[in-house]
């Protein structure tokens, strides 16, 4: 009963607020009433694309500057502060530098691939954005399997990363690309499986329905987000970790770790996660070894994600109330303890056997 009143209040005045962009768009399109149907269609999609690009690109640029400043502070030095107020225009400078700097193309590199790789990565990232619902009926590209589209596009980045590695045609970049792909593939599985419980509970792949399922509040205060359910929490953690790996952010940024490999192939702007405490992680956690990452993925992340699915099922069938909550927590805790026992980390380290592809 209480929930309804709150919903009602929010509903009324928020309704106007969140539709602001939609109204703007309709206003713009009204200019083109004279044109034929498909022209209008193209125009509306163009508007969407343009809006998206503007928001995210600027956001990325801002983020990179912020990141370098915070890192600087962590490493007890100043971040970029020359260009523009507090160095805020640094990304613009970088952008210009990128453009005007002479595009060094390795000698016998595969020109086409070298050129296409960065474009493809950027395209994939942007395409993924098209599916995310920024607001009520503000998802640029509504298709039934939204989530699936998101991950399908995500998986194309592997190919793109490889093309980048292959394009520069030198051993090190090749090696880096191989590692990145291996890492990304092995973490793609947990990434998707952690999303599975959400999809199971909501019963649909479209992001709007998932968001809609999380409306309303329990006890008036706590929003009924999945994060607050035990399996939701673990799923989020797992999702977040595999996200880091996917985008080769620290602590899993082995592929383009400056210290280890000379010319990383990854450009900062290609990461498609924008959580703020990214930078915190980047600064604090040490770099992990590639085989540890893989090991961790297959032996810990995958089982844990499966348990999330089971926990979600338990939670659902136990009536979604407090009892369900406790039961699924119990399941997750049990599995976690078993797994940690199994993966006894104090294992003595056997001499490393190098296996090379002939």
């Amino acid at each position: 009963m209480i929930n309804d009143s709150i919903d009602g209040f929010l509903h009324r005045n928020v309704k106007f607020a969140d539709q602001i962009f939609v109204n703007v768009k309709h206003w713009l399109l009204s200019w083109l009433t004279a044109a034929p149907g498909w022209v209008v269609q193209i125009a509306s999609s163009l508007v969407n694309i343009f809006a998206l690009l503007a928001v995210f690109l600027s956001l990325f640029a801002l983020m990179s500057v912020l990141e370098r400043k915070i890192l600087g502070r962590i490493q007890n030095r100043y971040g970029p502060n020359r260009v523009g107020p507090f160095g805020l225009l640094q990304p613009v400078a970088d952008g210009i530098k990128m453009l005007i700097k002479e595009d060094i193309v390795p000698a016998r590199a595969d020109k086409l691939v070298h050129f296409l790789a960065p474009i493809l990565i950027a395209a994939a990232a942007i395409l993924a954005l098209g599916v995310i619902p920024y607001g009520r009926n503000m998802t640029p590209f509504t298709i039934d399997g939204g989530i699936l589209f998101f991950f399908a596009v995500g998986s194309t980045t592997e190919l793109a990363v490889f093309m980048a590695g292959w394009g520069s045609n030198n051993k090190f970049s090749m090696l880096g690309a191989m590692r990145a792909i291996a890492q990304m593939i092995s973490y793609e599985l947990p990434l998707i499986i952690t999303v599975l419980p959400v999809v199971m509970v909501v019963g649909s792949l479209t992001p709007d329905r998932i968001v809609a399922a999380q409306t309303g509040y329990t006890f008036g205060l706590v929003p009924r987000w999945f994060v607050f359910t035990p399996w939701g929490a673990t799923a989020f953690i797992l999702f977040f970790v595999s996200g880091l790996v996917e985008s080769n952010r620290t602590p899993f940024d082995v592929p383009e770790g400056e210290s280890e490999i000379v010319a990383g192939h990854m450009t900062e702007y290609s990461g498609f996660k924008y959580a703020t405490f990214y930078i915190w992680l980047r600064g604090t956690l040490p770099r992990t070894r590639i085989d540890q990452i893989m090991n961790f993925a297959w032996k810990f992340m995958l089982p844990m994600s499966f348990t999330c699915v089971i926990a979600a099922a338990v939670w659902h069938y136990a009536g979604r109330g407090l009892r369900g909550w406790l039961w699924s927590l119990f399941v997750i805790v049990v599995v976690y303890t078993i797994l940690s026992m199994l993966l006894d980390t104090q294992r003595k380290f056997a001499p490393r056997v190098y296996r090379f592809a002939e």
Partner: protein, 160 residues
């Protein structure tokens, strides 16, 4: 379903397919193969089977293309330039294509116009999979595991 989109996509896929068949450099051929698959996925979207399109993208581009690329990496030493496509193959392909199109054009009953396009909701596919197609699903699962193990065994280095 806009015929414009269809024409564009058709041209894209066919061009990429031909490129995959004829490009000299192996890597380019693979990548054009990937592009053809994207084109096919897009065609699926046009035909309203989005889920299948996404699965196609997922499976082929996400896994198969990467596999192919890895295989290419693992077998790079054979740098010998591939001397041009031998003509017998080309002739045969063209003959087959001619035969197929002749057969298709000949059968009258097929030339029906596309009804209104309504994508099949993933929910119905899910239900179908889980109810009447449960048994094939299990079999495919088994097949995939078997293929996985098979591939591994083939590729794994014997401990000498």
């Amino acid at each position: 379903m806009s015929s414009v989109a269809f024409v564009l996509l058709a041209i894209l896929t066919l061009a990429a397919a031909l490129a995959a068949a004829t490009l000299q450099k192996l890597m380019h051929a693979t990548l054009s193969f990937a592009v053809t698959l994207v084109g096919v996925a897009a065609l699926f979207f046009l035909l309203g089977a989005e889920f299948v399109g996404l699965v196609l993208v997922f499976v082929y581009i996400g896994a198969v293309a990467v596999l192919i690329v890895f295989t290419i990496l693992l077998t790079r030493r054979d740098v010998g330039k591939d001397r041009g496509a031998n003509w017998r193959g080309v002739l045969l392909a063209i003959a087959v294509f001619g035969g197929l199109t002749w057969a298709i054009l000949k059968t009258r009953s097929v030339a029906i116009v596309v009804p209104d396009v309504r994508a099949i909701p993933v929910k119905r596919i899910g239900e179908a999979l889980m109810t009447s197609y449960v048994w094939p699903l299990q079999c495919v699962g088994l097949l995939l595991t078997a293929a996985l193990i098979g591939a591994l065994v083939l590729v794994m280095e014997e401990k000498r």
